[in-house]
């Protein structure tokens, strides 16, 4: 076993000795991946994995470095970028990825990408 392998094994033992917690975070991520275009009821996911939503929030952040709501936002904007690079209009992309407000979508999109959805679409079309 190499030094690197030993270091990974040691860290895994120290940080992830409770495999259930990692599994809970992984399940939550997969759920978000499959349902990001719908309202995500964090309390229902928490109930399904047998913990409180506050605990789930903490566990998710400890494992992935961001909260479930941040991850959800990231997935929605990533999908919106794909849609805007294709034939989707800004409003269609907004509703398809699960937002019901164009202004919220535009604000979050700008925060994430640095440009508005329409500017992003124009730039992609000009490429």
């Amino acid at each position: 076993m190499t030094n690197f392998n030993q270091a990974i094994a040691k860290l895994t033992g120290q940080l992830y000795h409770n495999g259930n917690q990692a599994e809970r975070a992984i399940c939550t991520r997969k759920f978000i991946d499959h349902h990001f275009d719908m309202p995500i009821p964090l309390d229902k996911i928490a109930h399904a994995v047998h913990c409180s939503k506050f605990h789930l929030n903490r566990e998710f952040k400890r494992h992935y470095g961001i909260t479930p709501s941040q991850y959800l936002k990231d997935q929605r904007i990533l999908e919106a970028k794909k849609l805007l690079s294709g034939n989707s209009s800004v409003s269609s992309a907004c509703y398809t990825v699960g937002y019901d407000s164009l202004s919220t979508f535009s604000m979050l999109f700008r925060q994430w990408t640095g440009s508005s959805p329409s500017d992003y679409k124009k730039a992609r079309m000009n490429k």
Binding site: T2, I8, Y16
Partner: protein, 145 residues
């Protein structure tokens, strides 16, 4: 002059936005590295600009042709070669690539003769593996679970 590092001060500055567009990996042979990174790993050549004896040679992920470019940088500066060898000898990866399915990628690359110093190993919410890029580096592939 004292360097200010408080967020409030920097938040007021009208700074240009910086982007990460290029990162690099030192290689002991650019031609060999290009073959390895394109034909075996599946990257695409993006730029090949002659610069004296070498080239500004970059590859990109075929999944993200407009994404960050990886510069295959000739390891000609002696201290950089010492650093590269020290990492290699300690099996420490100098670069991480993400993959969708690490087991499948491990089997594909192993089948092509690539040597792994770490087989797919779960660490919390990630699965990691490390291989030799034959250009002087250990490379880690990772799948977020």
């Amino acid at each position: 002059m004292t360097l200010r590092c408080d967020a409030e001060f920097y938040g007021k500055l009208n700074r240009p936005k910086m982007k990460i567009t290029v990162t690099s990996v030192m290689v002991n042979d650019q031609a060999k590295a290009l073959k390895f990174y394109t034909e075996l790993l599946g990257f695409q050549k993006k730029r090949d600009i002659p610069l004296g004896d070498d080239s500004w040679l970059t590859v990109v992920s075929s999944e993200q042709p407009d994404g960050v470019e990886l510069l295959l940088e000739p390891a000609k500066f002696e201290p950089s070669r010492v650093y590269q060898k020290a990492l290699f000898d300690a099996d420490i990866p100098c670069m991480i690539f993400s993959v969708d399915n690490i087991q499948k990628e491990y089997e594909r690359l192993s089948g092509l003769g690539i040597k792994f110093s770490m087989q797919p190993t779960q660490m919390g919410i990630a699965s990691l593996a490390v291989f030799d890029d034959t250009c002087g580096n250990k490379i880690q592939i990772a799948q977020t679970l």
